[in-house]
Amino acid sequence: MTRHGSLRVVAQVAIFAIVMFAFISPASAIPAFARKYSLRCTACHESWPVLNDFGRNFRDNGYQLRLGRDDTVTADPGYWPVAIHVAPSYVYKKVTNQATDQGNKDLGSGGVADAGMDLLTAGVLTPNISFLVVPTGFASNGNVHLESYWAYFSRLIKNSDWFNVRVGQFEIDLPASSHRNLELTDSFLLYAYHPSVPGGTNLAGYDMGANQRGVEIVGHDANSLTRYTATIFTAHDSLGSANGFDSPSFYGHLQKYFRFNDGPVSQAEVGLWGALANYPTQYLTNGGVPIAGSGSHLQSSTRYGMEANIWFGPLAAPLHLDLVYGHGSDKKDLFQGTADRSGSFNGGFLEAIWVPRADLMHWSVFGRYDLIRNQTQPLSTAPSNFNDQNQWTVGAVYTIAYSIRDEVALHAEISSDKAKGVGYGGLDQRTDSIMFGVDFVY
């Protein structure tokens, strides 16, 4: 069977599975915030886990509704701030032009993925001091780590929403959250991409989508329609520099939402964002091994760009389009002497989420197209389009049950990624994947 033929069969199976799962009866369990406030997941999520306006405002307010029932004393005594999220799924993945000892091969493999579990614990310790801790892992390798842990201090100056502080490890305030996206089989190329030298390495491991350790200042108006964040953090995956704030890195984001009381467009948003991550390029060593926290000669990896969101139809059941553009550059010394100049690229994505009004919130249809175009290759002799990437993902979620206690959904998606010149012998490499499974939180 050809590659296209096998994918067609798997796609047919996925469609059949979606149709069958649509008739499964509801289930129920206990998620944390839904139980605490007696609100369904749909109150805060446009389509779980993507936040809507109410959810964004709730998060900006430190997970408080401010009606005298937020903290551990005034909340319902039955409230326990823990939820569990697991997504068992079948995934089939095929990679072309894979270099092997046996030569150029196309490799395809599928199975039920080795799923992990998120333990989501979050709440309000005392009025205007909230927290989130997320141990994650628990897969067959036995590893567990804290994906997030932070404390959030709200209204620190004159009871104003314009100055709140978050301390810990958290996802920076991205144009579109990579922890709250609907797609499960791909990643946002723009966030993780770095220019590279063929066969070489880049010291900058900065993935904007990865959680960072640092301090974030958040400010917003009463409804979070105008908001900013400013973050100082230690660059992701750095061994650490000899500074008071090691591998010091910065991120800023400014957003403004506009609402329209009539007409097909109900809401629009524009934003600007920028990041400057600094990585040490030299270390003291012991036995040839770099000593953590001894790094020096910081070199920067910069990202900046803009975003635009638009919502068609009612916000309760919208077609939501999200367009993000970014420019990135990595300094020459980050390439460890294998580059003869700094590297730069342009990239972005267009994401669409549609919640059909005919069957409110049970269905969500989504898709995203990611694009990376290198502007300056760090090795001047490399092909100008080396590692240019195109990626698309389409999928659908059918929520079997959403209640004040749980959410359980069926999820299917197809994704394809094509990268120029990174495969065997400099050929293009294509990665196709198909996934369907159950996604539940309780």
């Binding site: 406030y37 007696s38 609100l39 369904r40 749909t42 109150a43 306006d53 109410f54 964004r56 405002n57 709730f58 509704l65 401010r66 009606l67 005298g68 029932r69 319902d76 039955g78 009463a222 409804n223 979070s224 609402r259 329209f260 009381n261 009539d262 007409g263 097909p264 467009v265 109900s266 809401q267 068609f312 139809g313 009612p314 916000l315 309760a316 059941a317 919208p318 077609l319 009004r357 409110l360 919130m361 209640s403 004040i404």
Partner: protein, 255 residues
């Protein structure tokens, strides 16, 4: 050319998604149903009867919309509320209950869900809301007004339910039920916030309109505006938050 094509596509997509056209200031019932299902249904129920899946776990039960009786109104006792009254509750929530503020929702969603909520009661199809209660200007918070308000509090026997100290612990506090037979606890006026709004006019309005569906009656026929404002100031003096925010020397009546 490209601009025209793009504009046409946007308009077409928008028209398909927006469904029926919505005139300004008039909610769309069909869209309001979507808003209701997303945000309100878990407490107020699919039939608007206040028996959503969360209701049985709540000490203060969600409102049953079918009778068209609403606690917070600007209209006289017995009247339907104005749309602006319903929006006031959406914007401010009800402190101490599970009803949050929906201020983060867009105006269009609020407008639509109000239109839908009104469909639960046939009264909205046959009756018109009466004119709002006229609230005279607040003469101003003062120690003397608080002292007079204390006397009004005693005269009208507010302590029977709310307690001598305003803590909701009066002799009748544990016998109260709403129109649906659910037990009620009188509001603790010393908590720092007033459920139906902290503004002076919000408190005044409660005295004059009552809280429909609860044992809190209207005093519109017996309470003079002067006495009502004194009572407002006395209630405010019970709140540590309000008293703290008053200018020095004006909080002598606070207990």
């Amino acid at each position: 050319m490209f601009y025209r094509v793009a504009q046409s596509i946007l308009l077409l997509v928008g028209a398909l998604l927006a469904g029926s056209a919505v005139a300004a200031n008039t909610g769309d019932v069909k869209t309001g149903k979507l808003v209701y299902e997303r945000y309100c249904l878990s407490c107020h129920g699919a039939q608007g009867n206040g028996q959503g899946e969360a209701a049985e776990y709540m000490s203060i039960k969600p409102r049953d919309y079918r009778q068209g009786t609403y606690k917070w109104r600007s209209t006289p006792s017995g009247s339907l509320p104005l749309d602006s009254d319903l929006e006031h509750t959406l914007l401010n929530g009800l402190y101490g209950t599970y009803m949050p503020t929906w201020r983060a929702l867009d105006e269009r969603s609020r407008r639509d869900v109000i239109a839908y909520i009104k469909t639960f009661s046939p009264r909205f199809g046959t009756e018109k809301p009466q004119d709002p209660i006229i609230i005279p200007p607040d003469p101003g918070y003062s120690v003397a007004s608080v002292a007079r308000g204390d006397a009004v509090y005693k005269k009208y026997n507010c302590a029977q339910c709310h307690g001598a100290g305003g803590q909701g612990d009066g002799p009748s506090a544990h016998e109260l039920k709403d129109d649906w037979g659910n037990g009620l606890v009188p509001y603790d006026l010393t908590k720092g916030h007033v459920k139906c709004g902290d503004k002076s006019t919000d408190i005044y309005r409660v005295f004059m309109s009552g809280l429909a569906g609860t044992p809190m009656p209207t005093f519109a026929d017996s309470l003079s505006p002067v006495d009502a404002w004194d009572l407002v100031h006395f209630i405010q003096s019970l709140s540590p938050l309000y008293a703290k925010n008053m200018a020095s020397g004006e909080t002598g009546g606070a207990r």
